[in-house]
């Protein structure tokens, strides 16, 4: 299969930008990515993108120019960015276009997400009786995982501590203050064992990528990043997913596991080859679980890994070098592409104070979300 390369990256900083719509933040990110690639919007032959709460991606054409481009709206929750990227890769590979764009953006109301039962095929009683909360799900999943694998609750603190430490090194991060162990461990209980500083917040922002065939990439970029894998998968019967009034007797691996395996197979590499990692960290517990589900350790090894500093920027497995969702917030539509952009920045060795030492060659990104979707990419340095 022909290699596809990322030749431009662009972001609108995550966080809160009052007075600027989600779509305007998406268009800002696209312009940044086009500028980075030295490409004009008129040259882009196909685009995929989406948001969860900020409208259709193809409305960005109203900001960027009505060029007649086939612009496909993607709505895959947390996997929106990953699905858009996988689709652009396929489109370019098929010969549909020379240059393609993947974009994600969002602007969520403040506070926890507010899902409605009917939208999820559930009856009203499930929401009315207080069972339909994402934070509750993450807590129940984490509680069970800690129990099954003998992991201490302090590991949840260590994940958050590293996220805010890395966020403090990241100029565009939303949360740039380091937090002490005690500040996190003693923060307000939200859904035990998870506390306030162990959860990311809904946010705003935009992220965009410009791609072309790897064989053409040097026309546009001195530092093209090869997409070695871009895979999206959904759940199997028996996986433990959000908004489940009941769980099946038999348990099946999460969609993360199947997406991860497919990505390694497609790239022809294994977890031991990866130099810089982005894992979905909507909460500390999720990141803990994802470390093992993506093959970076055995289930139960996380406590030691975190204590020993192995997941720090200078460690063996640098995770969420920009502070992840915990420090950047989660604009759902943009979050997966923020991960890809951070890994591209690391592989280009342009990450400044948070740069992974040495010459990282392979990077990995992972998102996971409702109702049981996961997207994984494996990226290679120029």
């Amino acid at each position: 299969m022909e290699d596809i390369a990322i030749i431009g990256i662009g972001m609108h900083s995550f966080g809160r930008t009052d007075g600027l719509s989600g779509q305007a933040q998406g268009a800002f990110a696209v312009r940044e990515a086009l500028r980075d690639a030295g490409v004009k919007w008129e040259q882009v032959g196909v685009a995929y993108g989406g948001s969860q709460d900020a409208g259709n991606a193809d409305a960005l054409a109203n900001h960027l120019g009505l060029t007649g481009i086939p612009f496909v709206n993607v709505a895959n929750g947390c996997a929106t960015g990953g699905s858009a990227l996988a689709s652009v890769v396929s489109a370019i590979r098929s010969g549909m276009a020379e240059i393609g764009l993947a974009v994600g953006f969002d602007k969520h109301p403040r506070g926890a997400f507010n899902p409605q039962p009917a939208d999820w095929g559930l009856e009203d009683w499930y929401g009315e009786t207080g069972l339909m909360l994402t934070t509750q799900f993450f807590a129940l999943k984490t509680q069970r995982y800690l129990h099954e694998h003998g992991i201490a609750e302090e590991s949840l603190v260590h994940v958050a501590q590293r996220a805010f430490r890395n966020g403090a090194l990241t100029p565009h991060a939303w949360r740039r203050r380091e937090l002490s162990f005690e500040e996190i461990a003693e923060s307000m209980a939200v859904n035990l064992p998870l506390r306030k500083y162990m959860f990311c917040n809904p946010a705003e922002g935009g992220a965009a990528l410009v791609l072309c065939r790897a064989s053409q990439a040097h026309k546009y970029s001195d530092t093209p990043i090869i997409v070695r894998a871009a895979v999206m998968r959904t759940r199997h019967h028996g996986s433990f997913e959000v908004f489940s009034p009941g769980l099946a007797a038999r348990q099946a691996p999460a969609p993360t596991v199947t997406a991860s395996r497919a990505a390694y197979e497609s790239a022809g590499v294994g977890p031991e080859d990866i130099d810089v990692i982005q894992l979905q960290d909507t909460d500390s517990g999720s990141e803990l679980i994802h470390l093992a589900e993506n093959g970076f350790c055995e289930h139960g090894e996380q406590g030691l890994l975190l204590r020993s500093g192995a997941t720090d920027i200078a460690g063996r497995l640098p995770v969420n070098t920009d502070g992840g969702c915990l420090a950047n917030g989660e604009p759902v539509g943009a979050s997966g592409l923020r991960q890809v952009i951070e890994v591209c920045t690391q592989l280009r060795r342009q990450a400044g104070a948070r740069q992974v030492p040495g010459a990282p060659r392979l990077g990995y990104t992972h998102v996971y979300g409702a109702p049981g979707v996961s997207a994984v990419t494996i990226l290679e340095a120029p």
Binding site: A112, L131, L133, L140, L192, H237, P245
Partner: protein
């Protein structure tokens, strides 16, 4: 087994319950093709892709499989009628039933000291709020229990 909702007036979750031989139980479905069981009742089997399912009694006793405490008041559609100030945290858990199916449920206690994975739990009804007309709102819940019938 008889899904006798007339016993439970004004109970929005009455259709989730059944009057079994050992008292009030949870009503689920069993796939006639592969035997997989579901709660709540459903008309499609996500294991074998079959669509021939029959009602079954999921039971009323199990063991706590995971738990948390809901410490903040959920937004709408939560309808307990409480104010933010008067909100009382509540326990939430999954209870593993004899078939292995785990049922998500409110718990009768929100005290972490009273909750441990693996402890026996029994089904009950709880009042979790009240309607604007003053009528109580009830739902099913699980309570820690000492005794448990049989080996789960």
């Amino acid at each position: 087994m008889n899904n006798n909702t007339s016993l439970l007036p004004h109970l929005p979750v009455a259709h989730l319950l059944t009057q079994g031989t050992s008292g009030l139980g949870l009503l689920g479905s069993k796939c006639s093709q592969c035997g997989e069981m579901y709660f709540p009742a459903t008309d499609s089997c996500t294991a074998c892709c079959g669509s021939d399912l029959a009602p079954c009694d999921i039971g009323n006793q199990g063991r706590l499989w995971s738990w948390t405490v809901q410490a903040f008041m959920p937004k709408s559609p939560y309808n307990s009628g409480e104010t933010e100030e008067a909100f009382q945290p509540y326990g939430v858990g999954y209870v593993q039933m004899p078939s292995g199916v785990k049922v998500e449920s409110r718990l009768t206690t929100a005290d972490p000291a009273e909750l441990a994975i693996g402890m026996p739990m029994a089904l009950c009804l709880v009042r979790y709020g009240q309607r604007v007309d003053g009528q109580p709102l009830q739902t099913f819940a699980f309570a820690p229990t000492i005794e448990i019938e049989g080996d789960l």
